[in-house]
């Protein structure tokens, strides 16, 4: 190469080629992987390990494994035993959520837009999977169309802002009514809810309901009134001192014992209550951390403005405190989302529980690796979506920058 450049210099000294970057592939390798004999040995050893791992994984995923178990039980894994003839209700729920997501991404763009396009990506991938039945494809296409339509409406008309927020607020009750029936439709007992649907429901219910409870407990723990303070401290320390699985066992087994025969509480509801109570205690401690980070001056300034205790908290203190602890809260919520798999131990058929049941089917004996990998993949996708949303939220609120 250099020889060439010199040659051309002799004849036509007009243009000189820019110097080649020193970071060629070989150069990079030499600088980073083989710079000394120690590094060379490390590179070779770990290179071999990585090669073997990757080769075996690929070998297993594409050739040895039998993914038919996922294909045959896809519906079970997603919605559990929910009756086929009532499945349209689940689809209606999804369409309602699609409407809201489309509208929100149209109005607010940014994070919502990214999440929505990610969801659409998942829909498209599912549509393209070869084993998906025609009906599912149609429903998913409707969903995508709805998202796009709502997005267009949202970008043009920002007056739907309030309506969208109210819609999100009403979403959970609507979903619950649609899923269970409540006299309007045929009743579908919670024992038939399962798979990813149940996982998602338990997590969402726990997150939504634990939030107000957690805020109250956090404020209560800093209260000057002793009874409120002691109750808050007692509650938080009691729950935090007990493993989640114990709380689930208590909710599943002890509660019926305490309540006697007269009151029967649904066992899915019991698990949801258990999760909510557990999450609230941890959330309270996170929020308390946020409250303590607010400088005294803010309290005094609020008081100087003549605000009473309620206004001081809602308008001055809490907004700042909550913003400061977003990363911690999202971390907690991701943890709770994954912890929902513990309900498999108390006999609920969440994503993991239903996976365990499926691999006991004599037709699919010995396919536990495939099923558990699929379960892990679903969790991975959704946890990453949550942490992505939280990072975007932190950036837009400027956490840690101000």
């Amino acid at each position: 190469m250099e020889h060439n450049v010199l040659n051309s210099n002799k004849h036509e000294p007009t243009k000189v080629a820019p110097p080649r970057p020193t970071t060629s592939v070989l150069g990079w390798l030499k600088a980073n992987l083989f710079s000394s004999w120690m590094n060379t040995i490390l590179t070779i050893v770990f290179g071999t390990i990585v090669f073997v791992l990757v080769k075996n994984s690929i070998d297993w995923i594409f050739f040895k494994s039998d993914w038919y178990v996922i294909v045959a039980n896809f519906k079970l894994l997603i919605v559990g035993q929910y009756p086929n003839e009532e499945l349209w209700r689940v689809w209606i729920c999804l369409i309602l959520i699609s409407v809201l997501m489309g509208l929100s991404s149209g109005i607010w763009k940014g994070t919502m837009g990214h999440l929505t396009s990610f969801m659409m990506g998942i829909y498209i991938i599912i549509i393209c999977l070869p084993f998906i039945i025609f009906e599912t494809r149609v429903w998913l296409l409707i969903n995508i169309a709805v998202i796009v339509a709502a997005f267009l409406i949202g970008t043009k008309q920002s007056k739907f802002k309030i309506a969208t927020l109210i819609g999100w607020g009403l979403m959970l009750p609507i979903v619950i009514v649609l899923l269970s029936g409540f006299g309007v439709f045929n009743h579908v007992g919670t024992n038939l809810w399962g798979g990813f649907l149940l996982t998602l429901l338990i997590a969402v219910v726990a997150i939504i309901f634990s939030f107000p409870l957690g805020v109250l407990l956090a404020i209560g723990r800093r209260s000057k009134l002793p009874i409120i303070r002691y109750i808050s401290i007692g509650y938080i320390e009691l729950i935090r001192g007990v493993p989640l699985i114990t709380i689930l066992f208590v909710a599943q087994l002890m509660l019926p014992l305490f309540l006697g025969d007269s009151i029967e509480i649904d066992n899915v509801v019991r698990a949801m209550v258990g999760f909510t109570l557990f999450t609230a205690a941890y959330l309270a401690e996170n929020i308390r951390g946020g409250l303590q980070s607010i400088p005294r001056g803010q309290f005094e300034a609020a008081e100087a403005l003549g605000l009473n205790a309620t206004f001081k908290m809602t308008f001055i203190i809490l907004p700042q405190a909550l913003r400061a602890v977003i990363p911690a809260m999202v971390g907690l919520f991701i943890g709770i989302f994954k912890d929902t798999s513990l309900v498999a131990i108390v006999g609920l058929t969440d994503l993991l529980g239903i996976g365990k049941n499926i691999i006991s089917n004599p037709a699919f004996l010995g396919t536990q690796m495939e099923v558990f990998l699929f379960v892990a993949l679903v969790f991975l996708i959704f946890c990453n979506m949550m942490s992505y949303a939280s990072r975007r939220l932190e950036n837009s609120l400027g956490v840690g920058k101000r």
Binding site: L253, P256, L257, G260, T349, K356, A363, G366, Q368
Partner: protein, 346 residues
């Protein structure tokens, strides 16, 4: 400080009042579970949903398996409808409490019938529906023929089960020293055995057979003839409710008796005009055996129409047409040298 003390005391007072309120009730509890079930309109069956052959979730979303069929038979006896069941999958930890608290009406979840469970756990057991026993699987080319050959061997076993204890008992009795390799889950224990890092794997024989069928080369493995323990699996109900326990008990007997008479799901109608007095009584054509139990007289017919006789239930889930192909052995009728025996229906 004083203020705090007052607050604490008042809190304790309120708390104790709440507790006192809780302990008042529990006056009369003589009602049989049967009335509760009748009023509810369906049976709640505690089952296991992750044991191959005994209870699992089929791809169409329905529970299947031998224990599930037993539950269906009970529902058929009570309601004449095998689908009037709500299944509650239970883990081994929660199964007994679920029966005690009335969460489930009957526990058909491969539970071993033992003295302590009958006496102190507060269960009443129905007749045994499956005689299992702990067995041992070894690699065929290892040349191991009996437990005595396992001297110095590494044996994989699931932790925290009676299996682990039975193994220790048996080996101590035989004076064979071995190295137990304990795993958290069956899958891990089997995986270790298959890749050869342990010499043998032990669990219930029905489990061994189902596991062997999943190994890459089932013929390379043999199950030793030695049986390490008795594991009679039986359905159970809450203790102290004889009326309900009787129904479960005689449902199981009806399955066994039907096989003895040769009455199957397919031919039950042809037996309705049988002249044999025992069969007429059994099927409720004459007599009032069903009413004595608090059921309809034709409850046996309903059971057989729903799930067939014991042999049919067994063959459907564990028999030659399944991947298990499990020999009936002790689960044969007493007339065929097995242990399945029903007292007379009269």
């Amino acid at each position: 400080m004083k203020k705090n003390l007052v607050a604490l005391l008042s809190f304790l007072l309120v708390f104790s009042l709440v507790l006192a309120g809780c302990s008042e009730e529990k006056a009369e509890e003589t009602k049989s579970q049967l009335d509760v079930i009748m009023k509810r309109g369906k049976l709640i069956g505690g089952v296991n949903a992750d044991i191959p052959g005994f209870g699992y979730l089929d791809s169409d979303g329905s529970y299947k398996g031998m224990d599930i069929d037993i539950t269906k038979a009970i529902a058929a006896a009570v309601f004449g409808d095998a689908n009037a069941v709500e299944y509650r999958p239970l883990s081994s930890e929660e199964r007994f409490v679920a029966v005690q608290t009335g969460e489930v009406d009957v526990l058909a979840r491969n539970t071993t019938y033992t003295t302590s469970r009958d006496a102190s756990v507060g269960l009443a057991f129905a007749p045994v529906t499956f005689y299992d026993g702990q067995g041992m699987m070894v690699h065929k080319d290892s040349g191991i023929k009996s437990l005595k050959d396992l001297e110095g061997a590494r044996i994989s076993v699931e932790s925290g089960t009676t299996t682990e204890l039975n193994l220790a008992d048996q080996m101590r009795k035989l004076g064979v020293s071995y190295e137990p390799v304990v795993f958290d889950s069956q899958d891990a224990a089997v995986a270790a055995y298959e890749e050869g890092s342990v010499d043998a794997y032990t669990t219930d024989r029905s489990g061994l057979v189902s596991r062997r069928s999943t190994l890459s080369n089932p013929d390379d493995h043999i199950i030793l003839n030695d049986v390490l323990s008795k594991e009679p699996l039986a359905p159970s109900v809450k203790d102290g409710d004889t009326k309900w326990a009787d129904i479960v008990t005689w449902t199981v007997y009806a399955l066994i008796q039907a096989e003895e008479y040769g009455i199957t799901q397919g031919n039950v109608d042809t037996f309705m005009d049988s002249d044999v007095p025992e069969i007429r009584r059994f099927l409720g054509v004459e007599g009032d055996l069903g009413e004595q139990l608090g059921l309809k007289n034709d409850f046996v017919v309903q059971i057989i129409k729903a799930v067939g006789n014991y042999g049919e239930v067994y063959d459907r889930h564990l028999g030659p047409d399944t991947v298990f192909d499990l020999d009936r052995g002790p689960n044969n009728l007493w007339t065929d040298g097995g242990l399945m025996y029903s007292p007379p229906f009269r």
